[in-house]
């Protein structure tokens, strides 16, 4: 295994986002395959971060920096992945639901899903059901991901699913949800296809939902 893969995974874990683009470029310059740089370098680091995060050994600031490092490295890598014929494994439209301004977790999900090979369209926070519907019409995603952090706002998840139904789009997408006030039981009750406890498990769920896991 090339030493540079080790270095890539180390800087992801350390959240050294400023070093990621240069190091990815260096790996490309050495003639390493883009997909291997992703799989053996960036993702090895990110998977370690995910594991530590799940164990509550790493916290949000560090995980954010790690995800940013991966994201910035991926920016350099992406054109090469595309040129090498790598296709996204699926498309995700992502947003924090109406009335809710919390978007850190949702952004982490977005960055981690990108790392896993998804194309991610991040609609931001306080996203109206209608805006989700518009985004689904426009982008034809495989998955709609919704986040809410309050019992008072999670209700908008149900409204969004209903809006997708009324627009005749519900069957064209899988819906996954996450956030403090929701769990698998609530996901089932509001008619979502899946629930993820945290950003790493959201990636696993997304892969399952597109049949890539």
């Amino acid at each position: 295994m090339s030493e540079i893969y080790q270095q890539l995974s180390t800087i992801i874990i350390a959240g050294e986002d400023e070093k990621a683009p240069g190091l990815v470029q260096k790996a490309l310059d050495q003639g390493l395959a883009p997909l291997e740089i992703l799989d053996n370098g960036l993702l090895v680091g990110m998977n370690e971060v995910s594991a530590r995060f799940a164990q509550e050994e790493m916290f949000v600031p560090e995980v954010l920096l790690a995800a940013k490092a991966m994201h910035d490295g991926l920016e350099v890598l992406r054109p090469h992945l595309v040129a090498a014929g790598a296709k996204p494994i699926g498309k995700i439209v992502l947003g924090t639901v109406k009335g809710d301004i919390h978007d850190i977790g949702k952004n982490l999900v977005g960055m981690m899903c990108e790392g896993a090979g998804f194309e991610v369209i991040n609609l931001g926070f306080d996203v109206d059901p209608e805006k989700f519907v518009e985004a689904v019409k426009k982008n034809r995603p495989d998955i709609v991901g919704m986040s809410a952090m309050l019992t008072t706002t999670m209700i908008a998840m149900g409204y969004t699913i209903k809006a997708l139904q009324e627009a005749g789009l519900r069957d064209t997408v899988k819906v996954m949800i996450g956030g403090s006030p929701v769990d698998a039981e609530i996901a089932e009750r509001i008619g979502a296809d899946g629930y993820a406890y945290n950003s790493p498990t959201a990636v696993e769920l997304a892969k399952r939902l597109v049949g890539a896991a």
Partner: protein
């Protein structure tokens, strides 16, 4: 189901509510109350484990009053064992500090992006300025600025909640320092007088509904706290 009136009552609460509880509780009960570390809300998994341990340690079948909200799933999955649990039906401590779910709802509608400060939170150092200082040491200026933006850029208001005018006066200087720092996101500073009402109702051991009510989640013996009960 009705409760035997003579069962012991135990209070387990977050330290953030300690001073409010101590104001209201008779000296003996205040001494026996168990106050848990502030920082648990950052580790919901650990919060669940640690609270479960505290509950399981209590030998006599008791009425346990939990001074917590859902706290990022921190309470989900806790089992009552031989006890009955009474829990404010809230996301977090803000509604408890403000005095009611309605008061919280009103403030939420006024400004959904509100960051709350209180005596407990200021004393525990859980606020944006303290975070900034900690991150700065760890990550340097540039990364810190980025992380802080990620966390707070959508907030519009910073509110100090006090429970008396003298409370507000005592904590105002510290809150204003935080407010000055938060001006970078155009957050405006406000002060609110909270109420003891929710805490008062929580510790009223004679008021334990048989089932979940609008304001409290009740877990009978052999039950488990489920997220759904907070909806």
């Amino acid at each position: 189901m009705s409760l035997p009136k003579d069962r012991p009552t135990v209070i387990i609460a977050c330290r953030v509510l300690q001073s409010m509880l101590q104001q209201l509780l008779p000296a003996e009960s205040a001494e026996n109350a168990i106050f848990m570390d502030y920082g648990l809300h950052r580790q919901p998994g650990k919060m669940t484990r640690v609270l479960q341990e505290e509950i399981d340690k209590i030998e006599a079948s008791s009425l346990i009053l939990l001074g917590y909200g859902l706290c990022g799933k921190g309470l989900a999955g806790i089992k009552s064992g031989k006890h009955t649990l009474k829990i404010p039906r809230v996301d977090d401590c803000i509604a408890i500090l403000l005095g009611s779910r309605q008061a919280y709802r009103q403030e939420f509608n006024a400004a959904p992006g509100t960051y709350y400060l209180s005596k407990g939170w200021l004393e525990s150092g859980s606020h944006p300025l303290k975070e900034y200082e900690e991150y700065l040491e760890k990550y340097g200026a540039e990364k810190t600025a980025w992380i802080m933006d990620q966390q707070y850029q959508h907030y519009e208001r910073l509110v100090l909640v006090g429970h008396s005018q003298s409370d507000l006066e005592t904590y105002r200087p510290q809150a204003l320092k935080v407010a000055r720092y938060c001006e970078r996101w155009d957050m405006r500073y406000e002060e609110l007088l909270g109420s003891y009402e929710y805490v008062r109702r929580l510790i009223d051991a004679s008021a334990v509904p048989d089932n979940n009510s609008e304001d409290f989640v009740i877990i009978p013996p052999g039950g488990e706290i489920r997220l759904e009960q907070f909806m």
